[in-house]
Symmetry: C2
Subunit: 394 residues, 2 copies
Amino acid sequence: MRKTTKAVKGAGGRMAQAEKPTPPYNLAPAATLSRIESLADTILHEVGVAIEHHPPSLEALRNLGATIKGARVHISGARIREFIRDKIPQTFTWHGRTPDTHLNVGINAPPVFAPVYGPPKVKRLNGEIIERATIAEYEEFIRLSDAAPALGTTGFLTCFVHEIPEPVRHIKMAEAHLNLSDKPFMGTVFSPTATHEVIDLLGRPPPHPATCNLLHLINSTPPLRYKQNPLECLHAAASRGEGCIITSYMMMGATSPLSIMETLAQGYAEILIGLALTQSFGAGSPAVFGLYAMPFSMQYMVPIFGNPLANQVQMIGMQLARRLNVPARGDGGVTSAKTDDAQAGYEGGHATLSAVMGGADIVMHSAGWLESGRCADMQKFTRESAFLENITLI
Amino acid sequence: MRKTTKAVKGAGGRMAQAEKPTPPYNLAPAATLSRIESLADTILHEVGVAIEHHPPSLEALRNLGATIKGARVHISGARIREFIRDKIPQTFTWHGRTPDTHLNVGINAPPVFAPVYGPPKVKRLNGEIIERATIAEYEEFIRLSDAAPALGTTGFLTCFVHEIPEPVRHIKMAEAHLNLSDKPFMGTVFSPTATHEVIDLLGRPPPHPATCNLLHLINSTPPLRYKQNPLECLHAAASRGEGCIITSYMMMGATSPLSIMETLAQGYAEILIGLALTQSFGAGSPAVFGLYAMPFSMQYMVPIFGNPLANQVQMIGMQLARRLNVPARGDGGVTSAKTDDAQAGYEGGHATLSAVMGGADIVMHSAGWLESGRCADMQKFTRESAFLENITLI
């Protein structure tokens, strides 16, 4: 039985943001971090990063001293670090609809927990599988996120919305966030037009710099590539002072080298480019550093979510972010389990604990992720969001 | 269908001991640790610790300057620290039957993983529950521990053995360890006679100091009490150069204060007494520091295993151990889940990860613990022992 969700705004479960663990867990020694940065600088200088079909990005990077060869940008990593230093806010305020829902995100704030992002299908509380999720499930996830005290945000795209046609889909989704919760939510990157339209929907931007209404998930396309759509969405968001989470999401052995250190170097190089663009298009606009990778199975041709190597990568990634004084994204709850079983429990639990102990400023996918990200599970969502109320106790 | 286990020694799964995470996670700042030590010193001085019916322990503590009032011992914590410093080995060798099964345990060695200890009942791989476990299940656990590359030891008392009469039970159990595996195993604390008899069974002691054949689980009885039997077993083990894990296992709100800091202070005070006794009876004998506590539910009158507060306690406990230069015990795999489900996955997984990241030198209960320790689950055992092969990757 599918129930229709009534569009009535909930009470909004809220808890005081807890403190970060002190100190964050520094897995890699400083010499290793320097080596990764140096490797990344070599990659940026010698191999370059492809920037596809976006002249404003090429122009911005040329202004930072880049050499453009075809679509590949060769640039000095040191120059980017110098450029972004003191521009990207260490801590920023992510505005909800009411002052008590505003979130501080960054080095001087507790971790913010966000729900799962991206699955096409949904598993409802009664176990029913909705293969092609609709706005009804989407609204249910907004209600669940709104009610969960540990979740600071209702996220975005907690599941895909299949039945609403593309030109208005993002508007209907954003309206659902606005109608059902006062908590801050994320922007859309379906297209630059969509990005602008959702920013327009929110009305007046919050005071610039170091505040935003929306955080946009901008991903590179590893190895060493940015495609046109994310670049245009990055441009749309940052030029209007809105926030971007710049993420390199790599599959070790497929879209990055097999080994952790070289993967970290590639990801760091990609993220530096994205961070530079946010500050070129909107100096002082919020930006978050997100470096994540998981092993890729050569046998089954799939990424292995929940593997402990991914936690090692994200923890060292957060150390690299701290050396830039840029807020860091972590990834919690990820697992390749197909139901919410013991595997889901320990894989997702370890990811979340690694993110928190590693010092993540915002933790994506921290509730509801199932089946390598193909399913948003409401049962796992409620279990995890309850559990997150205690996570910062370890 | 119950199968009979044949007493044929297995091949003995072994992996190279992995490295410890570097550095261990220091949850509490140094000032907090000093405060806990100072609180403990006040407890030892003003309240004292009860030593029940064991004149040799009273005598040993009197030699360290203690004042005895009835059965309560009032003593200087600083004096105990001075006494044990440089006596307790930072790292010791726990002997198996063959040189390649020897384990290094301590500050300069990787963590050693031990199976669950203590449950009366067993859940077999086919799901069958054996309410009163027998030597058949016990032998099966020895085989499983022997075959698991990540487990360095076959432990002891992985389940209770009900049908063998008390006078020979420990002998039959120890013989099973010797017959089925070359890996080191733990001593018994059923009675001091039993402790001696199992030590005798192993024949010649390994070279003293900093080596042992057997590690004995010696628990205080919180709050602030040592009962006669553990004291006599401690005396039996340490006087013959064998090892002791001195543990305070507290229920916050029942056998210790509700709050973490005061619980840590009480546990630290109790453990200092036990450590002092090991070195009084056998200077240089291996000793391990074990501080664990979980919240006690006033509503249900049971300890809440798997609660994140317990992980906070054990991580700070390990920091206190490091300040003494004494090897630290951690507790992995503990959960109050009644089957090996998502709760068992994340609670047990968090406990194990906290133990490893906290820098545990030996992790008790790291495979098979179920149902608040009342059940040894073979399925969870195999899942966890496989998982432990990667745990030190985070």
